[in-house]
Symmetry: C4
Subunit: 239 residues, 4 copies
């Protein structure tokens, strides 16, 4: 069941460690097959290097486990809520990568300070509020998803234009068209956070880049006439 999806999700989970984004077992990737509504996620607490396709846990969009002998990631109900509310996303990555987490811990949003950021995130990466005691006491991980969705509705953000959030006191979540794309957005977010911290050290009053630069970089990679990469155009069309 879902063997292609499982391969991609397993590879993305292993890459969490080899890319240096996570220590110990502090992160997880999931991916969804929208046709069937089935999705799979890393099991809780299993070392990345030992992870096999059979270890992945398959769930439906009601959160029912349909395959797998291991307990799913403790963050499963956050992923579930995001898949239900963000209809166009195909993969989710959660890490405690240090620089993104530095911003999350300080409840500090991440403005767009350069084109690296603009290529991946269309504007300021927002902070989702931390949870109330009641939300934490009952169904904590579900409410993490609720706070993220609430944040995106309030700021009128589109999930695929802004495929990242920093949860206050906690850490980042990213997503994308598929599992690999969500992982790449975690890598990009970590670098943007590291570079923002450094640029702020040089200039604590630094402003975000001009709107037209942001728009251009977004369109160049994600717009209707995107020309980054190999898929959208044949080489002879390049000029």
């Amino acid at each position: 069941m879902l063997s292609e999806l499982k391969k991609e999700v397993c590879a993305a989970n292993r890459a969490l460690e080899t890319s240096g984004l996570v220590k110990l077992t502090w992160g997880n990737v999931s991916g969804i097959d929208r046709a069937s509504g089935l999705w799979c996620i890393k099991p809780s607490g299993v070392p990345y290097a030992e992870l096999t396709l059979d270890d992945l846990v398959v769930l439906d969009l009601d959160g029912k486990i349909v395959e797998g002998r291991l307990r799913p990631s403790s963050d499963t109900r956050t992923h579930l809520h995001l898949y239900r509310e963000f209809a166009d996303i195909g993969g989710i990555t959660h890490t405690h990568s240090p620089y993104a987490t530095i911003f999350a811990q300080a409840s500090r949003e991440l403005p767009c300070y350069g084109t690296t950021h603009a290529d991946h995130f269309f504007g300021t990466v927002p902070v989702a509020r931390s949870l109330t005691k009641a939300e934490i006491d009952h169904d904590y991980e579900h409410h993490t998803g609720v706070a993220i969705v609430e944040c995106f509705h309030k700021l009128r953000l589109k999930p695929l234009e802004m495929p990242a959030v920093l949860q206050a006191c906690h850490a980042p979540f990213t997503w994308g068209k598929n599992a690999k794309d969500s992982l790449n957005n975690s890598i990009a977010l970590e670098m943007c956070a590291q570079m923002a911290l450094g640029s702020l050290q040089l200039d604590p009053t630094l402003s975000a880049i001009p709107a037209h630069v942001l728009q251009k970089h977004h369109d160049r990679k994600h717009g209707r006439e995107a020309y980054y990469g190999q898929k959208q155009q044949a080489p002879h069309e390049w000029r």
Copy 2:
């Protein structure tokens, strides 16, 4: 003698280097078999990559060497005192990992600024005072242990709830249920210290996370109804 324990302690010592926590020979891991009261530790000054099971030094709880042809770590008497005073710990790791040592050198305790910290350390990681001249001149490493235990008694901390300390002017010690667990706590402490330094750069007046978030993360991983990892519950119980 103690072959399983030796394997674990040897692997944890080698991981000090491969995990990037130590340079040269600046760290050591030990583990104890509580049934026999015997414990083993890295020999002093031996490169990690060359360490074999036979190199480990086995001692009893009086500090007498019962096996091994090499001199034990110069920090042996600190480990000994911790095993005697903290009855429920099964392993100890000492490193000079850079970010934790940055806090120790500044005699600065490490507040809980996020859930990464809360998952491992139940509150502020304390600073044990530096030693007096008399303590240093006579049985220095023993008094390092004394200062740590004194700090824990004074703050009424439980060693397995707070498996780490920063010794002023020196470096961190961590411990855990066993040697591997103590190593993992060193890895976690180093990341928490790195992220705290960064979050403090963004906000020098940053507060610790709310008590209910700290409690939840501690319980989720260590409480009676813990649901992180694979051991406590079967997968079908997950929801």
Copy 3:
């Protein structure tokens, strides 16, 4: 066609990743054969580890693709303009390496704070202005090159004496006598930026090194009587 050049350019592109300068596909190297006026560059969005000689795209100095089935790097028109305007350069490297980008994002030029810098860059690495909306909307990457060349003309800089620029809001470009040399200058720039950030943390009012130290280090490596490395002199001439 151009098989030696392609080998060098392919190796330099792969080294972008193995050297840690780039994440994902955030960088590209090109090299030119001045005799024929043909040059080659990385294709857009192709992972470094999978890059083969046949993947490289060969262009002429009018920007026409003369060989290659893939679309060239999205930064191709910046490279093209630099090759046309800087007649003595033989290779160009573009990265988003974190420390150099930290300075670029803050629109902060990089003064020469030490001999590491002086060995590679003859003075302050300049910042090229960010682009106007009109420049971005029409032929963006070409205008990036225009802004760099304008900056060098204005400051009367010689490209091989100052083989680097930081583009405001964006990232660095470096160049050199050939592709490998341009890559080495990216590695040097990244280290100089990292060390400058640290030295500025210790002393926010730090001055550049004295002019005679800068001149000496430049001459020692690049001057007529250079004595660094193995090429210019036989060993018996050393003293």
Copy 4:
């Protein structure tokens, strides 16, 4: 000739790169055979991974090349002066390692902020002044050595108690009983500089550790009754 020494010096030079202390060819290690007065050093500009025993250049204490077909390191005359003036050292390492260079660029000495430092350097690592124009114009690298020796005489420092110096505007030099020991001191210096920078971020007015802690750590590792490592005492003497 000097085959054991060459093996050690070659291995130490290769370790400059694998340990992460140097990029490109920014560093060199030498070692001396005091009996014959012959010493060998890395050739200038040769990549570490390609270095062979035959590439090393052997010189006498007059600076005459007695073996080797390549030009020696451009820093050769600095090493020569140190070997002539510091009679008890057996090896020298020069790097541009980032954190030590951050302090050197800022002309900032490195106080002893913790026991990591105390284990290797007996007090504050000093800054040697930068050179005058006359010194730089004539026999630059020799005068670098002169400034270092002058600094040590002025501060009444013993080279083996303080096996490191930061040259203003430039970078660190370290030395030791032999080549490997000098390399280890470069590794230690880099970590101490990194941790000092971080501790100063937490507390810009941080003081050096108390004199009795410094003395103890120095004696524990280097004093007459040293008990660190395996050489000085048999294990049964440990308590």
